[in-house]
Amino acid sequence: MGAISLIALLVAAIAFSAGGILVGKILVKGSSNPQKGQAYECGIPTDTSPWHQFNVGYYLFALLFLIFDVELVFLYPWAVVVKKIGIVALIEIIVFIFILFMGFLYAHKKGALKWN
């Protein structure tokens, strides 16, 4: 039924979630106390906020992911036609993948794939 179904599904998601949350909101009266709104940290009051500058070792993976993801994107149209085009497509893609695999090897060699 076409793209309109996406909108229908979105509406369904919102209705479903909002419905559930609203029912709870309306019917349940919670008690309130000063502790309730505080962040849970194993029962210890916490004063340092996590919204603090913070070291993540993950960003390198996100970088590499981005590159490979773009590559993946180009492979989709290729994969669809490879059977029809045949050997030329194979060679083209071997070159393509080979070049990127070089990058992968380089990353590996440089230790970028070692999470520290």
Binding site: V28, K29, S31, N33, Q35, Q38, Y40, G43
Partner: protein
């Protein structure tokens, strides 16, 4: 100590018994359905301080398996838990933590005091400077289950009792109410 006073539980326990506001009361016709749901889906907070916690683990283990009642979804976060099983001694240093955990739980919430320690300090009632003489000095308790430690069946029994109470449609105040009536 006079006999009568001992029996009436009027002993002056050290510390203050905190009043906690109730909540989570549904006032409508589908009460019973809600209470059925609540009673059958008591997710415990994985809270254990000492020996009784081991028996709580045994209750979770295959032989006793409290998942039969739907309790197995032990949540590590108090936000998602419905019942605290205070399994073990509560000491003065832990008391504010327990209170905070309880406070941070979303309503409705229930409390089971498991073992002598959680009820009254148990073996550590006399001559200790650091043990809270009963978890109900800190947070309201719904079901008490004596024993040191109570055996797993006893914990199951207390859970069933709690279920019964919820199913009876009592509000939280009522569930805890008869604490004051005697």
């Amino acid at each position: 100590m006079e006999l009568n006073e001992t029996l009436k539980g009027k002993e002056v326990f050290p510390g203050i018994i905190h009043e906690t506001p109730g909540g989570g009361i549904v006032v409508s016709t589908f009460d019973s359905i809600i209470n059925w749901a609540r009673s059958n889906s008591l997710w415990p907070l994985s809270f254990a301080t000492s020996c009784c916690g081991i028996e709580m683990m045994s209750t979770a283990s295959a032989k006793y398996d409290f998942s039969r009642f739907g309790f197995e979804v032990a949540r590590a976060s108090p936000r998602q838990a419905d019942v605290i099983i205070i399994a073990g001694t509560i000491v003065n240093k832990m008391a504010p933590v327990l209170k905070r955990l309880y406070d941070q739980m979303a309503d409705p919430k229930y409390v089971i005091a498991m073992g002598a320690c959680a009820i009254s300090g148990g073996p550590f009632f006399y001559n200790t400077y650091s043990v809270v003489k009963g978890a109900d000095h800190i947070i309201p308790v719904d079901v008490y289950i004596p024993g040191c430690p109570p055996r797993p069946e006893a914990l199951l029994h207390s859970l069933i009792s709690l279920q019964e109470k919820i199913k009876m449609g009592m509000t939280r105040e009522q569930i805890r109410g008869d604490f004051k009536t005697v």
